[in-house]
Symmetry: C2
Subunit: 436 residues, 2 copies
């Protein structure tokens, strides 16, 4: 097994006061075996290679708990529109014309961008998820993948569920455990109760988790109220969907009683601040969720609604949004970093992620701190949340393997991916234009 | 006079549909003489040097209409605190211990960061503004500088006004016109009426503009209501402050009648979205201001409240903030870019800035578009606002002179500046800690 010694400033995310200005991290195989002051690794540890990153801060890789990777294909295709015309006139006609290869290249582009901006694990939901699986395996990152399933058309729903089950059978625990597969019923307003009950049976049978959008918009709230006379989360509870591992994306409109439901069933929340702002969805009650001990991670949502996949931007926006509607004391810098790392580990159920400590996975990133926007160095967490940008990430390791070094991607042909996406996206847009 | 030909994708900001995918820009001395398709510059134009930036988008340099440059010294020193304890326990004790040299190095650090993130003109207000002037002159950027003056202590106010007048006499129009000097009365709640009247007399005598904070917080609104029975903007009007060139920073709390006052006196608004969010100040009525034809520019505010000086981040946050409280159609990408360029030109009164067109100043920046977060290329304005980050800026020209090339700063010793600020800021923080 390869042994690495990494020397850098180390922010292990094991507690607000933990920081090594001259730190070192010892890695053996896919795991961290030591974190501490420089020169204090066990004397019998003889590394195969030493990384001297003395101007970088090393921290755990970021966990993006909700995205639609292949939607990079639609980045900038339509913006600044109300939700329904945006979906009906732009997103859905475009998606209807995307083939499997388009999904592969779109996912690969997302992975380029994610690695470049420090994300090492993503929770994804989309249509041809086996293509995303293929891209993730090649790339070397981690992912929890789900086939997004709407249940309004019974036949299509049944096909989608079969695809999701196949995805599970083919890819769950693939890539030395780097891949996990979840079931992905889309949302309360797109899935009838009967379908959700079938999904839950299959999840229990397979031992799979569930990934679903919940209470994202006021319109969803109104629809569920009208259809079922209750709220989205309560209605899902009534369908018996809860009890296993479940990731609820958005959770913008929940009352205090529903926060108790999240807590009771240990439901993990994927909070998407930028998407919720850009699409005028609203502001989720994150500080209150954290107070109640609910697990909250951060997500970028898809690139068609955000429009980037930069978790550093997401951290900043998450904090700014809460401070705007609450108080300057809400979502302090370290709390936000904690959501993007330890919170993400809890939400994904990947217990060996989210911090740099012996026994944890060697998923880590280095940020180039030798830049004017990181001076003076009063507070590393503050600088990471309020000043850092995705482009400041220099080195990325996942599962003990370097996948970006000094800003060069080692597992992806970035230039080719960009050009393929450009060609394919423009071709689809042209088709939509001509056929509509 | 030096002649440059710049080949690139060109977004001239002369109208929403204006874009040259294969464009070129001809520069003679400090001015643009031609913008158009590649190969269409006048045949008698023989450049001294050709810049082939074919993977970059070139656009006008960004105009930061409100900042406190030297406050980079306090970056990350205190965050996540309520406004008054933050000011009283942290900011003011720190500022009281900053000397002239500290102000110089803090300003130089701000300029490093601004150039790196595409800002070519800033409107500044701070204490030892002659030090900021010195840094700007060395650096080659543009600035409108004002000595921040509070008028509650009569003697201190009189000294500050003398310093601001000296600043005007020494630096107004310095650096081939790159510097302008404004008078900087701090805010309605820190300046008595009599002092503001004196400031206005001096402004008229000198022919100087005025830069002031207005209606930033609810607390200010309450104070002015209690003291004078009116609103901050109306009270300033009563003091006779309006009529000349005036930049009003923040303008978060204005009613419809006050928007008419802005319009009537042609007051320029400096909007600071990130500062207003992070400090829980509130949301300014920007879409309504634009509807009424009021000039609005964007500003970062100081690095102690934002915490960076990245105008790309500011553009994104400005749009997200309005979309969150209004609708997804508010502050569309091109409108935001327009505020950061043409809007800034109107607010500063620098009529030859803000667009790339013959007769305009050669202040321009190039953004490296050969990166995954800029693919596919459906919309350049959308990508610039929703995906671009300060670190994507590659080349910066001000007044026809290159001051950053391929990310190397040509007029500043960045490493020394970072280390000086680190040393000085830590020393001051240590003093505050020991003496308080």
């Amino acid at each position: 097994m390869t042994k690495y010694l990494i020397r850098a400033m180390v922010l292990p995310m094991t507690g607000p006061d933990d920081f090594y200005e001259n730190g070192e991290i010892a890695v053996v195989g896919d795991s961290i075996v030591f974190v501490g002051e420089r020169g204090s690794a066990p004397p019998d540890f003889v590394p195969d290679r030493i990384f001297d990153l003395k101007n970088d801060v090393v921290m755990p890789g970021l966990i993006n708990t909700h995205t639609h990777a292949a939607m990079t294909m639609l980045r900038g295709y339509a913006d600044d529109m109300p939700l329904m015309p945006w979906l009906e006139e732009k997103v859905w006609p475009f998606e209807a014309r995307m083939n499997s290869e388009d999904m592969y290249w779109g996912s690969a582009l997302a992975l380029c961008e994610m690695i470049r901006s420090g994300t090492t694990t993503m929770v994804d939901m989309y249509i041809k998820e086996e293509e995303t699986a293929r891209a993730v395996l090649e790339t070397g990152t981690r992912a929890l993948l789900s086939r997004g399933m709407t249940g309004l058309d019974r036949k299509a729903a049944s096909v989608a569920l079969q695809e999701n089950i196949e995805l599970f059978n083919n890819y769950h625990d693939a890539g030395q455990g780097r891949l996990k597969v979840l079931l992905g019923p889309h949302a309360p307003y797109t899935c009838p109760g009967e379908f959700l009950q079938t999904v839950k049976q299959e999840a229990d049978r397979l031992g799979a988790g569930i990934h679903i959008h919940v209470a994202e918009t006021k319109a969803e709230l109104a629809t569920i109220k009208e259809r079922y006379g209750t709220t989205p989360l309560r209605w899902l509870e009534d369908q018996g969907l809860f009890g296993g591992h479940l990731i609820a994306a958005h959770c913008v409109y929940l009352d205090e009683g529903e926060l108790d439901i999240l807590k009771q069933y240990k439901i993990g929340v994927a909070h998407n601040a930028e998407s919720n702002m850009k699409l005028n969805s609203g502001t989720a009650l994150i500080p209150r969720m954290l107070e109640k001990g609910i697990s909250v991670g951060l997500g970028t949502d898809g690139a068609s609604s955000n429009n980037d996949l930069d978790m550093f931007g997401e951290m900043r926006s998450a904090s700014f949004q809460q401070k705007l509607v609450g108080s300057p004391e809400d979502l302090k810098a370290y709390e936000v970093l904690d959501m993007a790392t330890n919170g993400g580990a809890r939400v994904t159920g990947l217990k060996k992620l989210g911090r740099l400590a012996p026994g944890y996975k060697a998923d880590l990133i280095s940020i180039d701190f030798e830049q004017p926007h990181f001076y003076p160095r009063f507070s590393i967490p503050s600088h990471l949340v309020y000043c850092a940008r995705g482009g400041d990430v220099r080195t990325v390791m996942v599962d003990g393997k370097i996948i970006m070094e000094d800003r060069r991607l080692l597992t992806l042909d970035e230039r080719r991916i960009c050009l393929e996406v450009e060609k394919r996206a423009k071709r689809i847009a042209f088709k939509v234009f001509n056929e509509n």
